[in-house]
């Protein structure tokens, strides 16, 4: 129904439009530290993160992450393996003051929408959990549904905390927002790990709480700074991106989107080392 109402633009429209519409003075941002997150993604070490959006690479990530055989065939076991839930930042640091001033109020429709959505997420997670215990993986439609929810929440969180510049959409389509979450397709998960998921997630959830506080501080400081200067300080931006990534990976772990534990490293530019299952 939302698609019929055209709440969202056509897939791919937004990114293209954002790229085209970026103000001319945005160029220096690309050279600044905050854009290191973007720029570094384009260097060799980060090729996999960027390319994971492409179907063949997404598949590659999945294989490497979740198929022990495939990992075992790897000629070099020390080759870093990417986390199945990756954050991509392709935004500039400019923040129009009018949108900064009322930012907490502007996300209210999204928060209401996410609250409504979460009513359906609870039973969906329960079914996904039952399925994963029974067959060792989350069914594709459920995975897609939960991934869209997680992605939308990440988009909204990025906007609210000024990590993202643009107003986010409501449907959580991949590639629809410059601060985006790539979530690998469903893969086999250990049944025991699924069974004890909430208990196993406790340490990550505790750390996520600390990250949430940090994220809130970033949001408040960034709000003040952006209101005065019209720009998000690059350090705060990077810190916010790191917090957002951890929050998203924790959510994805709890919601059974991946069996990989969240990566606690605050660095957003280093691929996670291979962890053999």
């Amino acid at each position: 129904v939302l698609e019929q109402l055209r709440l969202e633009a056509q897939p791919g429209d937004e990114v293209g439009a954002v790229e085209e519409r970026r103000p001319a003075d945005a160029a220096p941002d690309r050279l600044g530290r905050a854009h290191d997150v973007v720029a570094r993604e384009r260097i060799a070490a980060h090729t996999a993160i960027v390319d994971s959006r492409a179907p063949q690479n997404a598949k590659g990530v999945t294989t490497a992450d979740h198929e022990p055989g495939a990992a075992g065939q790897d000629a070099t076991p020390s080759v870093p393996r990417l986390h199945p839930v990756a954050l991509h930042v392709d935004d500039d640091l400019g923040r129009p003051r009018l949108l900064v001033a009322f930012r907490p109020l502007l996300v209210l429709p999204h928060l209401c929408w996410l609250a409504l959505w979460s009513i359906a997420v609870v039973p969906a997670v329960a079914i996904a959990w039952g399925s994963a215990v029974a067959i060792g993986r989350v069914p594709e439609p459920l995975h897609r549904f939960l991934a869209a929810f997680t992605r939308t929440a990440a988009h909204v969180s990025a906007f609210l905390h000024l990590v993202g510049r643009h107003y986010p959409g409501f449907l959580g389509r991949e590639g629809s927002y410059p601060v985006d979450l790539t979530i690998a397709p469903p893969a086999p998960q250990r049944r025991l790990g699924v069974l004890a998921r909430l208990v196993l997630a406790l340490p990550a959830l505790v750390l996520a709480c600390f990250y949430a506080v940090l994220f809130a501080v970033v949001g408040v400081l960034g709000w003040g700074a952006a209101l005065v200067t019209g720009r998000m300080p690059s350090g705060l931006h990077d810190l916010g991106a790191a917090a957002l990534r951890y929050e998203a990976q924790t959510a994805a772990y709890v919601l059974l989107l991946t069996g990989r534990y969240p990566d606690a490293s605050p660095k957003t530019d280093a691929p996670t080392p291979v962890e053999e299952r």
Binding site: L7, F102, P109, Y167, F170, S176
Partner: protein, 403 residues
């Protein structure tokens, strides 16, 4: 467009116009006798010359402050209508989501522009001892209300834009009905969201039940709203629909400044609103204003691609605010007629014109209400009859009931 289509459209407009006039006539009816002539009231003699002069000075300042504030809002929205469309590139939320964004930003702009005028008004009220609200509380205390307004405008724009994208230039007809339905739902829900207390005064409760029977209604809860920590103004109101109907007294009305007979007039007045179905009728009027209003917005935004396009939203906001100012005299006329009917019902119920006169005189001093404001102020702000007219109605009622 073919001649047949043109004729069809003209016929539809004619049918709508006739239906509009018929509905307006039905809604405008009142139990106040048509031949009721209000006698002249010497305001200086009734209210006291010094009190009248003080109230005039107090209200004129607020009127001018309000007018300047509205002018500033119109200028800000005109600039937003010209330049706001560029914010479209700040959104990745699709056309409807972007429209919601622009609507909320426009609302935020209006709030920002009005803020200094609201603070000036607060300063003036504090200076006259009518408000105890702090300046910080005035700026930051209303966030919940502001959040509700943001959500409401987002919801309205989502509905309007979705309809416009589906129905093209005909969205205004079902759109105004849908908006009226949303307003009705909000009016119904509102009493359940308000923080109100029961009345502890048995005499007031008993008087209220007696007046209920006299006016042919039953089971309407009487509640008290605590406002004495913010203001010394006294007031009361009726709200809700069907099972959510309520009559609410401000606790400042029960603080001993008003006599029992005067409080009874207030109770009967508010019950008069409920027994005369003023709230459903006000919603009917809202629908009648919404239909042509939505048509005007559709016509105004056509050049920017219509309401289906987010670029039209800033212009639509400007059009709505201009329409609000232009239709204020008509809306105030309707409101004054309902208030006069409630006053008349209060007189018929309490049969105590002296208490009514006493109440309105006291309002002149406790609320610094100008008993006889200039015509332009009455047109723009007069939601209630002037205090002089209300005293005159009590006199007129007494002359019809000499015993």
């Amino acid at each position: 467009m073919t001649t047949g289509a043109r004729a069809g459209r003209a016929a539809l407009v004619a049918v709508l116009a006739v239906a509009w006039v018929a509905a307006a006539w039905l809604l405008y009816r009142s139990t106040v006798p048509d031949d009721l002539a209000l006698p002249h009231v010497d305001v200086d003699a009734v209210f006291g010359a010094a009190a009248v002069a003080r109230a005039e000075r107090y209200e004129r300042f607020l009127d001018i402050n309000w007018a300047l504030g509205e002018l500033a809002v119109l200028i800000a929205l005109a600039v937003f209508a010209l330049r706001g469309a560029r914010l479209v590139r700040e959104s990745a939320a699709g056309p409807v989501g972007t429209g919601m964004l622009l609507g909320m930003v426009g609302l935020g702009l209006v709030w920002l522009v009005r803020l200094p005028f609201a603070l000036t008004s607060l300063w003036w009220q504090r200076r006259h001892g009518l408000s105890e609200v702090g300046y910080l509380a005035a700026v930051f205390g209303g966030w919940l209300e502001l959040a509700g307004t943001f959500l409401a405008i987002a919801a309205v724009l989502a509905v309007v834009m979705a309809l416009a994208r589906r129905l093209g230039s005909w969205w205004w007809l079902p759109g105004s009905v849908v908006l009226a339905a949303i307003a009705t739902a909000l009016v119904f829900v509102q009493p359940y969201l308000a923080t109100l207390e029961p009345v502890h005064d048995q005499r007031v409760e008993q008087a209220f039940r007696t007046f209920e029977r006299a006016q042919g209604v039953a089971g309407i809860p009487l509640r008290v709203e605590r406002v004495s920590d913010r203001t010394s103004l006294a007031n009361a109101y009726a709200f809700g629909l069907g099972p959510s109907r309520r009559v609410v007294l401000w606790d400042t009305l029960l603080d001993g400044r008003f006599t029992n007979a005067e409080i009874d007039v207030v109770l009967a007045h508010e019950l008069g609103h409920q027994s005369s179905d003023h709230i459903p009728r006000a919603l009917g009027w809202l629908t009648l204003f919404l239909v042509p209003g939505a048509l005007v917005v559709m016509l105004v935004t056509r050049r920017r691609g219509g309401m289906g396009q987010p670029q039209s939203v800033p212009l639509a906001l400007l059009a709505v605010v201009v329409l609000g100012v232009v239709t204020a005299p008509a809306a105030n006329l309707v409101s004054r007629r309902m208030e006069a009917e409630a006053d008349w019902k209060a007189l018929e119920t309490t049969r105590d014109p002296a208490a009514a006169r006493g109440l309105f005189r006291r309002f002149g001093t406790t609320s610094l209400a100008d008993p006889s404001p200039p015509a332009w102020a009455g047109l723009l702000f007069g939601t209630h009859p002037t205090l002089a007219d209300r005293v005159a109605m009590a006199d007129a009622w007494q002359s019809r009931h000499p015993s």
